[in-house]
Amino acid sequence: MADRLTIEHYIGEAFVKCGQVILGSRILPTGSVQQQPRSARDKRAGRWFLLELEEADGVGKEVELWRKDLSSPLIIEIQMAPGRIAALAAAAAAASTATAGNARLAAAAGGGSSTDGAGVAAVPGDLLFTPLERWTLQYERSPPSGSSSSMAGAGSGACSGSSSTRTYLDEVSVYKRLTILVRSLYSYTRVLPAYKLFRAAKQRYAGGQSQFQLQYRIRRTLQQQAIGDGASGAAHHPGPRMQDFAFAPVDKPPAGAFVSRCSTTRQRQRWFWSIVLGAHGDAVHP
């Protein structure tokens, strides 16, 4: 399989896998998925990077769009909304109009989702938006080094035109590194404080209560950063409340990746994390 697939294929699957890892450790599934026995799960998701994950209906299907389209980053924001505020948001969202920003706050029980292009619920106060984490996966294809005439011209358009003749170098190494990265991410999501909230929400959900709900929203742009970091554009400049944590990049031609994290601690012990996972794609050597 490694000989037939391209690096971009691996990266796309890595996007999906990382998204599933993140959401699987933050968002409770809807419906009765939790009661399904382990043997009934679809194990197709486990093939990639040899890590079997629990599949949860209604959670994270949006990330599969990045399997085919890596042109925009995958941004997953995890936020907390107390149950009563979430109920208010649901009522307000029905009658609200779009405000600044390009994300919509979902108020479904057990988690919600939104994608770019929708408005935000007009619920006042930043209590509703209690960002805990932001995970960003980004793939960047760098211009070819030492390009010949066939590789002339930077930009993804020129590179993608000759993709059919490339990317048979070092796929195994890239796949192995992505496998390590996915496992590291799986462990890391369980170390962060937000996982404790997820765990508490899971216990309360099982008991018929849902005092705290973790919600998520998915974006395609790095603009409209959350409150506090003051960044704009693709540049990653955390604000004073933010901290960075960076994994070493999967930085071996023709693909590279980097991971960083921003966090913030506020008076009420809210943490805001941002993890940037990107991949630098290099042109293929024929």
Partner: protein, 249 residues
């Protein structure tokens, strides 16, 4: 060991009853991130700490880790005042040609060193503090009682000092637990970071099992791995297989 990537993790200061669980957190995290085979991860909520770590789901691995941790704890009990180090090492096995035949050789490519410093339990320390505190209180109350002649004041102050000592105990214990919690989380974060920092030294994946790379866990007091052990085995084989010299005429 040539070309062996070594990761020295920060020292963990642990009470004796915490060592086992802390080592489980760290060792399983390392093993899981290095298990590049098909894995069904197993999330484990730590019994002593507010931490969730991940196991690779292999019962053999769990048994091996548990056994070595038990041995390590036994070692620690003998010399609790020393700094103890445990090493988790990944290796690959190669056949090596020797004079007397082929021999399996272990080539270690990565070692994680976990250092543990044993702390005195809170109870022992705080009991000393409480006794000192109570003695001080009694001395003060003794002089006060001589002045006033009221015995019930002595009982009242003694009860107060007991409450204060208990509060002190709780505060110290909570502070220590918080420090340890933070240290453990930092160590797990460091493991996750280090796992991704360097990957060129990782050998090819040849095994189909979940834990693709064999490992061993050693600590001071156990037999040394590597060439010394292999050499002794080789000498043994030689003595077993060697034919006696012909009798000289």
């Amino acid at each position: 060991m040539a070309n062996c990537e070594t990761h020295n993790l920060p020292v963990l200061e642990l009470e004796p009853h915490q060592i086992r669980e802390a080592l489980r957190c760290v060792l399983h995290t390392i093993i899981f991130t290095r298990a590049l085979g098909y894995v069904i991860p197993k999330d484990v909520d730590s019994e002593l700490f507010d931490v969730t770590y991940v196991q690779c789901g292999d019962p053999g691995v769990e048994a091996k880790v548990e056994s070595r941790i038990t041995d390590f704890c036994t070692q620690v009990e003998k010399k609790p005042a020393e700094l103890h180090q445990l090493q988790l090492s990944f290796y690959e096995t190669r056949r090596k040609q020797a004079w007397f035949g082929t021999q399996d050789e272990r080539l270690y490519w990565e070692t994680w060193v976990v250092s543990v410093l044993v702390l005195q339990p809170d109870i022992a320390l705080l009991q000393q503090q409480q006794q000192q505190h109570q003695q001080h209180q009694l001395q003060q109350q003794g002089s006060f009682g001589a002045l006033t002649g009221a015995a019930h004041h002595h009982h009242h102050h003694h009860h107060q000092s007991q409450q204060q000592a208990q509060q002190l105990t709780s505060q110290v214990r909570a502070a220590r637990q918080a420090r340890l919690q933070s240290a453990l989380e930092e160590q797990l974060t460091l493991v996750v970071r280090r796992v991704n920092d360097r990957r060129d030294h990782i050998p090819p994946v040849l095994s189909t099992s979940a834990v693709t790379f064999p490992f061993d866990i050693t600590f001071s007091g156990t037999s040394t791995r590597g060439s010394l052990q292999g050499g002794l085995q080789a000498v043994g084989k030689m003595l077993m297989k060697a034919t006696p010299p012909p009798v000289l005429g």
